[in-house]
Symmetry: C2
Subunit: 317 residues, 2 copies
């Protein structure tokens, strides 16, 4: 586990998620390099700023910012914070910035978001998934607002580590990065199952924030949206079980109750909608629906929500 | 059937539906009296105007307009064109304007919209339901746009006619009024069943027009909204059958195909939403859902749609 001592970290896609965790790791002393597209010059000039309700105002300036992955030093860890809708295009950047045997950690929501990336990466790269339990959003170029929470749970997807012991060592190394930066992080023995569990939150709240133009406070204050959220959550649990992934009893209730205690949070899908970016419908809706259907399980409310969001997305972008 | 010769007709609620049919009856020579609320002075001064794609521009001026039912002559037929959301408040106006033994024809969408009215009317009044297959909307005070179709199908709900022969005679008298005015009208032997059938159109299109901000042209042009409309239609058919009301095979397909041929139509619920009027959710969604549930039948997509509309309605009014 020698590499846990300050490995070189690359951030592929410096949005709210990549920017927040990259900044936290850089402040903890890691050598962090940020790949940016549209925000490159703003961040190169003015740095990265996180207005955090948990940690106070944070600033990273100068930022080791790059507009091309080829210019980055070779990294031990690559954190992928870009949208799932751009995954296919990310592989060349990841390959260009990766040391041999590097670990690629996909910090995205949705089911099996690593699968399409895996096909495009060399076998020598470790691929991991990270589930971020965090309320964070971009407020402008290089400006990030962090409202609450922050944990990252990490699981192994695929790569050269073939036995459980080797996999868990790499997963623990990833968790160690975050913990060193003061961020709670747990190892997940079953990434696919954990992705299903995360969907119990994302499927209702992401979609309804777009469909109803409402943040969590409004959604949790109305009897009908509450009942719909609970029915959608129950369908996700049903889909997970049909696909052989158990969900602990009471876990959906836990997420529901937790959301009541959040500050008013507008999920990433709402921000994507407002900024006319494509919605992450494939990863968050289409893939779980297809997986459940293949297992003989209809999820009618989720399907109806997905259809309405597809209509909205098509008109929006 | 002597009363079919020019009975006195009262219109209770002169919106798009009441205004259109009232004007058509008045032009056919019937003695028609219009009860109005907010639009009374505009209509009394400038008359009623229908811009009809079927019949051309039509005008009725002067209009026999009233702001209070007590001022109206006693009517043989009362056509109720107000929103279902105001039904409870309509009974006193209906009673004030009704001849003994008058026929009250409720021209509204939704399941069993007559039931609540029935409790408030004297037993001596006949209560009928009319289903309007028409694309019509208000464009301003006394201004109505008629885009397509027009038929009114009539069924007996309750009242002094106790046997089928007497009931059908009254229903045919009602159909005769419309036919005299050049409007297609069929007698419906089973009003409850006909109301379920009409919901096959109203449940998908009314709600989705509000939720997606889209008229029929956009809804019929997108693969996802088309699939959702068909799934919602199938649930209505399933609900009707669970409640013992048969639907002819292919009827949902017929409505779907018919809608493709319509001009771009924005259902009444969309106009209610835009004008911040309460949506007719009780009649069109809550009552069919409750009836199906009582018959042991879940309609999850309709329920999800109803929940989102309830949220929207509560914030809108």
């Amino acid at each position: 586990m020698g590499t846990i001592n300050k490995p070189v970290v690359g951030i592929i896609g410096t949005g709210a998620i990549g920017g927040f965790y990259g900044l936290m790791l850089a402040r903890a002393g890691f050598d962090v390099h940020f790949l940016l597209r549209s925000e490159f010059s703003a961040v190169a000039e003015r740095g990265l700023q996180v207005d955090s309700a948990v940690h106070g105002p944070l600033k990273l300036d100068p930022v080791q910012a790059y507009s091309a992955a080829e210019d980055m030093p070779k990294c031990d860890w690559l954190l992928v914070g870009a949208k799932t809708t751009s995954n296919a295009g990310l592989a060349p950047s990841i390959i260009a910035a990766a040391k041999p045997g590097a670990k690629v950690l996909v910090l995205q929501n949705g089911l099996d978001v690593e699968d399409s990336l895996r096909e495009l990466l060399p076998d020598s790269l470790h691929l991991l998934g990270g589930l971020c339990l965090i309320c964070v959003h971009r407020n402008g170029p290089g400006l990030i607002t962090h409202q609450a929470l922050g944990a990252v749970n990490v699981g192994y997807h695929s790569g050269p580590a073939t036995d459980d012991v080797a996999r868990m060592a790499i997963v623990e190394e990833g968790c160690g990065l975050f913990r060193t930066a003061g961020i709670d992080s747990q190892a997940m023995p079953n990434l696919h199952q954990a992705r299903w569990q995360k969907l119990i939150w994302n499927i209702p709240y992401n979609g309804l924030s777009v469909l109803l133009g409402a943040g969590t406070t409004a959604l949790m204050a109305d009897a009908d949206s509450r009942a719909l959220i609970q029915a959608l959550m129950a369908e996700v649990v049903q889909g997970a079980k049909a696909c052989g992934q158990d969900v602990a009893p009471g876990y959906a209730d836990f997420l529901f109750t937790m959301t009541e205690k959040l500050p008013d949070y507008w999920p990433s899908m709402y921000h994507d909608f407002v900024h006319k970016r494509p919605l992450e419908l494939e990863a968050i809706y289409a893939r779980p629906l297809a997986a459940a259907k293949a297992a003989g399980c209809e999820l009618p409310r989720i399907e109806a929500l997905y259809r309405t969001l597809s209509f909205i997305d098509r008109r929006n972008t």
